[in-house]
């Protein structure tokens, strides 16, 4: 109320109050834009582009085994140190094999020691630390990691968000043996395939 205002200006000012009421009144009758979760959920298009926590991708032929070669790149590159990966130890040779190997060594031949299987012994994700940057997905040399679409996550215990991803992959493979292959193929859908 500083400068004196003309009558017409006063009227336009008061009219602005009516205009405001008109706007809210109009929206009062319009349909709602929110979604009644959990009765309705978002359409798939919106869900599939969402990046949840990471999960492992299985081999096309053996969906229960990850493509992972235990190189440890994801563990090294993760800014939040949320991935813990352990490599498998080479299988212990049986008594006969051991003997044969020792004999061969004694003969001065070059011994081929059994190598460790490439898939990891354990692959744990601590999702409570993850910042969802996607570094691990981009840097995996064999594209064994992808983002899951689990967006409805809730829990009262932080341990619920510490995932054993190998176990998860096995469960997924057991749940839909047929669909696994198709899902693995669509893993690059998020556009995070290579970098």
């Amino acid at each position: 109320m500083s400068a004196p205002t003309s009558i017409t200006e006063k009227i336009t000012r008061l009219w602005s109050l009516i205009v405001g009421l008109k706007v809210t009144g109009k929206y009062f009758t319009k349909p709602q834009v929110t979604l009644h979760y959990p009765r309705k959920t978002l359409d798939d298009e919106n869900l599939l582009t969402y990046r949840g926590h990471i999960e492992l991708v299985g081999l096309p032929k053996k969906p229960g085994t990850p493509k992972c070669i235990s190189c440890g790149m994801c563990q090294a590159v993760c800014p939040s140190n949320c991935i813990t990966l352990t490599k498998r130890k080479p299988p212990k040779p049986t008594e006969a094999e051991k003997k044969a190997m020792e004999e061969a060594e004694a003969r001065g031949e070059k011994v081929k020691k059994p190598s460790a299987p490439k898939d990891p012994a354990s692959f744990n994700l601590d999702y409570t630390l993850c910042s969802l940057c996607g570094c691990c997905v981009e840097n995996c040399p064999v594209e064994s990691i992808r983002f899951s679409n689990d967006i409805y996550l809730a829990g009262t215990d932080p341990n619920a968000f510490r995932y054993d991803l190998l176990q998860r992959l096995k469960e997924q493979a057991a749940a839909k043996p047929g669909a696994q292959k198709a899902q693995a193929a669509s893993g690059g859908e998020t556009g995070e395939g290579e970098a």
Binding site: S16, V19, Y50, R51, A76, P79, E138, A195
Partner: protein, 395 residues
């Protein structure tokens, strides 16, 4: 600054030099019969954990001092502990409302240091993502500012529109708020056809909504009474505190990093830099609303001119990449003002020193002087009109 010095001179308890800010300067009021109030760290209108120490006489503010540091997360120090590649996710969390600009500032600083070329398509994608993010930031500010002024409904309308932007940006980046979309030498993913179609659909939609914003809020006589001639920040004062962004543009200076220190491909687009010479909260308000329109123009042109090509440079740094020795500075225009990143490299794979210049920090320093002598309700209005994001200020 002058306020600070004045307070030091009249410190009534010189023996309290070891005390904290409160006991040194505010334990006893400057005048008789005043009330010292802590506005924050838990206060609805300080948007997070900003604490403002206020000395009031009735409802008139004698002095107000923002106290920072409740959300300090050591982003600058973290940079020294991570590799260049690993630090990117932090940039989405400094200013969560305009994460893309911070992404850009960091990526730009590293690229300038190492001389990395960014593919043309990536530059366009960066512009689109950053401008869309700027609109979403301004929309959120608009809603939150009106919430400060006591109107509850506008924020819901703003969120309705903002949600569409988040849906668009979710497609390439996978996240909805703390984007980590930029990469050194490009961006993380391409905008697919659906995303581009959604943008083309969104531009006319938001243009159609802006008149409603004007009818409901901008023209409202009650709002005008709350923002006009409130928090007048003369240009000279803005200069003194280093204010940038809509704050300085609302004081009549057309300073925009996109024009003043052109980076990327902003010189290819036609857009105006909205300014207002009124210097009050209304000026900052209208500058921001005008910026939404200008950002829409830029996005429209960028989508139309989007070239084919790679979205990530072939020579993009790998996780253990080491830049050459040297230093670089890169500034971008964020929703709150000039975001600057100063980077010193000693040749190892993590920065030797990284300095983040947050626009909100400089803008907030204006508050102490601007709020002197105003009403408590006006102080809330001024705080809101500065568009503060506390995580960015504390870094």
């Amino acid at each position: 600054m002058s306020v600070q010095r004045e307070i030091c001179d009249v410190n009534p308890f010189p023996e309290h030099v070891a005390g904290d800010f409160y006991s040194n300067y505010f334990e006893k009021g400057q005048a008789e019969n005043t009330l010292i109030i802590n506005m924050g760290p838990q206060h609805p209108s300080t948007h997070g954990v900003l604490r403002v120490l206020v000395e009031v006489d009735g409802e008139y503010i004698l002095r107000a001092e923002p106290v920072l540091g409740y959300l300090h997360r050591m982003h600058e120090k973290i940079a020294e502990l991570k590799t260049y590649y690993q630090y990117m996710p932090n940039m989405g969390r400094v200013d969560y409302l305009h994460a893309m600009a911070w992404n850009w500032a960091y990526a730009g600083a590293v690229e300038r240091l190492a001389g990395i070329e960014v593919p043309e398509r990536a530059e366009y994608l960066r512009v689109i993502a950053s401008e869309l993010n700027r609109i979403s930031s301004h929309l959120l500010w608009w809603g939150a500012y009106l919430l400060d002024l006591g109107a509850f409904t506008p924020i819901m309308y703003a969120f309705d529109d903002r949600e569409r932007i988040l849906d668009i940006l979710q497609r390439p980046s996978g996240s909805r708020l703390t984007y980590s979309y930029f990469r050194l030498g490009g961006v993380a993913a391409d905008f697919d056809d659906i995303a581009l179609a959604k943008i083309r659909e969104f531009i006319p939609h938001l243009r159609g909504r802006l008149p409603m914003y004007k009818d409901l809020v901008t023209d409202n006589v009650i709002l005008r009474g709350r923002v006009e001639e409130i928090g007048v920040l003369p240009l000279e004062m803005c200069r003194r505190y280093g204010a940038t962004g809509p704050v300085v543009r609302g004081s009549g200076l057309a300073y925009d990093v996109r024009r003043a220190e052109p980076y990327s491909i902003y010189d290819r687009f036609e857009y105006e830099i909205p300014t207002d010479t009124e210097c009050d909260a209304m000026a900052r308000y209208s500058v921001r609303l005008a910026e939404i329109e200008q950002s829409l123009r830029i996005v429209e042109q960028a989508v139309a001119a989007l070239p084919e090509g790679d979205f990530l440079s072939k020579g993009a740094p790998k996780p253990r990449w080491k830049p050459p020795k040297g230093e670089s500075y890169f500034a971008v225009e964020g929703a709150r003002g000039k975001i600057g990143i100063y980077l010193v490299s000693d040749g190892s794979n993590s920065p030797y020193r990284l300095k983040l210049r947050a626009p909100g920090f400089s803008n907030l320093s204006l508050f102490s002087e601007a709020s002197k002598g105003t009403l408590l309700a006006d102080a809330v209005s001024i705080l809101g009109s500065l568009d503060l994001v506390i995580p960015e200020i504390d870094r």
